[in-house]
């Protein structure tokens, strides 16, 4: 550091010894609070705030019973998004990675989710049900694990072959699986599944993980997100339901999802692991924000681009300080 730089630093660091003016900090704070409070009151009275009612399993099963039914079969067969997710719900996949870092896998299974029993069998078991469903449930519970898997997988494959059109599914050895899926669909239609999924037979419960995961396995939640323009690929992260501003402060986070390679799931390794890479990127950028004062180039930009001339115009004019030549 040259002497002049050191002197400049000392001057910037020392208490200001030049001209001062009166300043009432308490009054300034009070006026600011009053201003913001009044603005918030006016905006609240005029605009309200977003409050789109939550989706329900009843709404899903009533509006698109086939999709719910197929999803229930996938939960039994272990082919749904939740059943194949990996950590922290199960070990069905290794999850995402950043180069050699398999953080998702290494963090382990801390919120175990058993889609067969917790999404289908346990909720069904809480119900007073028809003889057909009760019999199917008894058959399922009495069967060996390998038999259960064979039934459910065969039915899931047959539905896939019929491209989801249930009326076109070929007859086969599906055991109690169709009856169980029908029973769960009827239960959802009646409105009993929402609470049964949450409580899992208990009383107090504040964890909605199972409900949210099951919801995401079908098309109901996804379609609602698309309709509300909330999909990540269309800046949905910073959008809000209705005509309200969303989390605009997430614009940079949202931005990466709009551009290659992040927006291409087929592009390995970054696009295929976009969630992980973007988290790392945003972590580094956040660190960069904190460290701006020591980053070469970025820290000297304010001296080169004379926006400060406008901010302190009066001071510069009063003291005859011209803009730097460099």
């Amino acid at each position: 550091m040259t002497l002049s730089k050191q002197a400049k630093h000392d001057f910037d660091a020392a208490p200001w010894s030049g001209k001062t003016k009166r300043y009432d900090i308490v009054k300034e704070g009070s006026v600011a609070v009053a201003f913001v409070a009044i603005a918030a009151i006016v905006l609240s009275l005029l605009m309200g705030s977003p409050d789109e009612a939550p989706l329900t399993f009843k709404g899903w099963a009533v509006s698109n019973a086939d999709n719910f039914y197929v999803t229930a079969v996938q939960e039994l067969a272990g082919t749904s998004g939740s059943a194949t997710y990996g950590g922290p719900y199960n070990k069905a996949s290794d999850g995402l990675n950043v180069g050699p870092l398999w953080l998702q896998k290494w963090a382990g299974v801390t919120h175990p989710v058993d889609t067969v029993n917790e999404f289908v069998i346990a909720p069904l078991s809480t119900q007073v049900m028809s003889t057909e469903i009760a019999s199917a449930l008894a058959t399922w519970k009495a069967a060996a694990e390998s038999q259960k898997h064979t039934w459910a997988t065969a039915y899931d494959d047959a539905i896939t072959k019929a491209e989801g059109k249930l009326s076109d599914v070929a007859p086969g050895a599906y055991g109690p699986v169709p009856a169980l899926a029908k029973g769960l669909t009827d239960m959802a239609k009646g409105g009993a599944l929402d609470a049964a999924l949450l409580s899992q037979g208990g009383f107090f419960q504040t964890d909605n993980t199972k409900q949210i995961l099951f919801f995401g396995d079908g098309s109901y939640l996804d379609d609602a997100g698309t309709e509300a323009n909330l999909q990540g690929g269309t800046w949905g992260m910073m959008n809000e339901t209705g005509r309200y501003p969303g989390q605009a402060w997430l614009w940079l986070y949202s931005f990466w999802y709009q551009i290659p390679p992040f927006n291409n799931e087929e592009s390995a390794p970054i696009g295929a692991n976009a969630d992980a890479y973007i988290m790392v990127l945003m972590g580094l950028l956040s660190l960069g924000l904190i460290l701006i004062p020591v980053i070469p180039g970025v820290k000297s930009l304010p001296m080169r681009i004379p926006i400060h001339r406008g901010i302190w115009r009066q001071y510069y004019d009063a003291n005859g300080i011209k803009r730097r030549k460099k």
Binding site: K21, G87, L96, H111, L289, H308
Partner: protein
């Protein structure tokens, strides 16, 4: 006496942040731009956020779905958050273009920047505890990012109870402490002098 921790702390506080600095009645004459207003406006918005948030906390997370007065208080919370971020971002950009970290003010900048990041985390958990469609959608979408880094193992965005507690207790505490430290640092060091300010000229004005 001077060996006492209490005495040491008091002496250090009085040396670095006497009451005249904490509650000043004058300030440098160069502080005239509108850009200076956005720091205090951010604090004011935070005050309205905390006030409306406390009322919401007393009534519970589902109150505003079924009550007009609840919806009004929720709206106060919503709009004060929107204003908070607008003011804070303008404040942040303003401080960047002023290179406000000059003169041993790096920690002032850093605490402000960390508070900005903490604010985003706090607001995010707020969106998760609205108990409406937004919460369903955001928690389902957001879980993948956190899970991909292993963070989801202990920060479960689909767990309403956990998010609610973090939103009303832990994160506001962190943000509050950062904000207090940031403001105390601003008061201690004072407002950064203009870029290219000349010591001799400033002395002339005394």
């Amino acid at each position: 006496m001077s060996e006492m921790w209490t005495a040491k702390l008091r002496n250090k506080w009085q040396k670095n942040l006497p009451i005249e600095k904490l509650l000043p009645d004058d300030q440098p004459a160069y502080v005239v731009s509108w850009i200076y207003v956005f720091g205090v406006l951010t604090l004011a918005a935070l005050a309205v956020i905390i006030f409306s948030g406390i009322i919401l906390a007393f009534e519970g997370p589902a109150w505003y779905h079924i009550s007009d007065s609840g919806l009004f208080v929720n709206s106060l919370h919503f709009w004060s958050v929107q204003m908070f971020f607008v003011f804070m971002v303008v404040h942040l950009w303003g401080k960047y273009w002023m290179a406000a970290w000059r003169g041993d003010r790096f920690r002032t900048w850093a605490t402000g920047a960390i508070a900005f990041v903490a604010s985003i985390a706090t607001a995010f958990t707020g969106y998760l505890v609205q108990t409406n469609f937004d919460s369903q959608w955001i928690s389902f979408e957001a879980k993948d990012g956190f899970n991909s880094m292993g963070i989801g193992a202990f920060f479960n965005v689909t767990n309403l109870g956990q998010m609610l507690l973090l939103h009303v207790a832990f994160l506001p505490l962190i943000l509050g402490v950062l904000t207090v430290i940031h403001v105390l640092m601003v008061r201690r060091r004072g407002v950064v002098p203009p870029i290219d300010a000349i010591p001799t000229l400033s002395e002339v004005g005394r």
